[in-house]
Amino acid sequence: MMLKKLVLAGAISLMGSTAFAACSYENTTEIKMLSAGFEAWKAVTDSMAECGNFQAELDQEFRTKQPAAFEANPSLYHLGGVSNGTITPLLNAETIRPLDDLVAKYGQNLKPNQLIKIDGKIMAVAMMVNTQHLMYRSDILSDLGIAVPTSWDEVYAAAGKIKEAGVVDYPLGATMKSGWNLAQEYVNLLPGHGGAFFNDDNTSAVNSDAGVAALETMKAALAFTDPEVLVSDSTYVQQQFQQGKIAMANLWASRAGAMNDEAESQVVGKVAMAAAPTAMEGGAPATTLWWDGIVVAANITDEEADAAFRLAMEGLDKETVMANNDAAIWLIEGFTPGPLSEGAIATATANPAPPPYPSTTRMGLMHTVLGNEIPAFLTGERDAVATLAAIDEAYTTAAKEAGVLK
């Protein structure tokens, strides 16, 4: 019985993938790819696999594997899926190749917006944008007569009213798992408060008024979140939404689709998206812009690179996007923005616009330090000023060891 079901399911899924967009050519070169494992990558790699001789590894730990795998000669993968955060080590080690010739040859359907140019050379082709923005339960906000919040002050005011009404367990969800997630919240808020991370000489600049304000804004959330918020990552917040436990959160656009997944969600159609809240009057939405895209390894032959790029273009085409419209905020021709992408688009087109995630060697060091030092502030062991001093000091130690500071 079980076996029969499995065979049936397999057959249906095979049918599903051949029913649309069968590949326009037959790929004869063996191509391998390593990327993150979320929905949009699955759609793209499935569509590439239709051309044959293609093997994709979708792995959430790709960021630790990719630099070493691409440094091997020949490279272990021909293609890599990267974001603006994870392309830095590949650029630094020059293990990915410029794509100008290949784009000229196969990239007729790409929009200029998709081409990631570093010093004028195309180093990656972006397929989607991602950002953290406000998701809220539209039913709860309209029941309580609350306008959609546009700033963090308004978010907290609204959270206060929702808490009073007692309609959900916790008014707010937050991706504050200590480490990368928590640091990312701060990376959203500091520029939102007009602060900067670094001085021109690579020394830390977080110990400022904006730095304190950003920390205070983070801490204010704790009055409205789950007390266990320091263990909650994006998936946890997504589930809290799906189970109707929270009413608002500043969450990744790539998680929006899950809110309407009938198999998991109890709040189908009730979660709406808006621009990320601002942290100060007249400021940009307190968030960062991300893109995900494809790079081609440097340590492979030109023929392989040619075949790999041609195959990638097959994955990043109109058919893939039209069949998976809600999987991402696609940059590719054929994308129809739906209600789920409203928030991300409002965020990205805001004036002033939020900055892209500032991925550099020093930012990598700073991100780790923030993730390790901020928890002590949120648990009340340390005040804001002492925390910022500790961040300064830990960053200086790390930067000296990494050669960024003398």
């Binding site: 960021r63 080590p89 080690a93 200590s178 021109d200 940059l331 928890p375 990494a402």
Partner: protein
Amino acid sequence: MNFKTFFAFVAPSVFMMILFIALPLVSVFIQSFQITQPVMQQVEVETCTPGFVTQTCVTEQKTVPVIGDDGKIQTTTEWVGLRSYRSVLQMDKVWEAVSSGRLRDILQIDFWKALRFTLMFTLITLPLVIGVGLLIALTVNNASRRVRGPIIFVSLLPFIITPVIGSLSIYWLFVGDGILTAMMERWSGTNISMFAQAWTIELLMYFYRVWHVAPFAFVIFYAGLQTVNMDTLESAVIDGANRWERLRHVIIPHLMPLIVFIALIHLMDCYRVFDEIIGFRSQAHVISLQWLTVDFLTPDDAGNRAIARASASAMLTMIGIVLLLILPLRRTWRDHKGSAH
């Protein structure tokens, strides 16, 4: 056994130990006194990234590594003496905290915070593991033969589970409105969050470790109980010793070498506590020395790893284990010498 036969049996294992333990240890020892870093240069880079409709291009100064002629990042290696140890231990801050009388400030430094937990974890679970293990062993030994098999099987189960999986299951049972938290909430009528403060997390960690390791102690003690001298026990009964006195004066002295053995193994294992930190996601509240080393080694998005500090922290962990093991090892050594003549 003559030396040649002895050597033939031991050589493969000695070779493996040198290859996989001694040599890496030497390399870590050396690296803890060195810093290897890429040669960096300042360049002006123009980066164009997509918005939703149009691109934004920014030109900025970036610090990037220099690529050598071989196509690899150029690095320099420098002897720095104890610098990495100093940045892990941060002794200046420790002395400052001691002299100003604010001892709690010491626990804000990662290494000391981790050391505090690691030591407490090791020393609190040690007697519990031995006690619980002994208790199960005595119970099974006194149970009727028919139920003994099933009892042994059930009590061994926790030890079979992979540590990460075990800690994850405890995490899922208690996190948010997990089954057990929901049950405790119903009994007590208050909202309980087990992962919101350090002490409840630590309590769960102690519980988990004892639950996981006690079966190991049980198996060893159970084997030991089979060799207790029955004549001594019977004469103790005739002399009017009650159950407790027999345990205290006959059974425990007999099991003493095994207790020391279990203590040794447990101290070594516990001092390297790691799975609980990851499984319980407790980094915000509780960290351990082993976790600290791994955290130094984990590359960030830009690919940086703090290998020098990781080496220093690993060496410090090893020194800690050696210090902890001195007492039980001295005892074993004395027993060994005592039995020799």
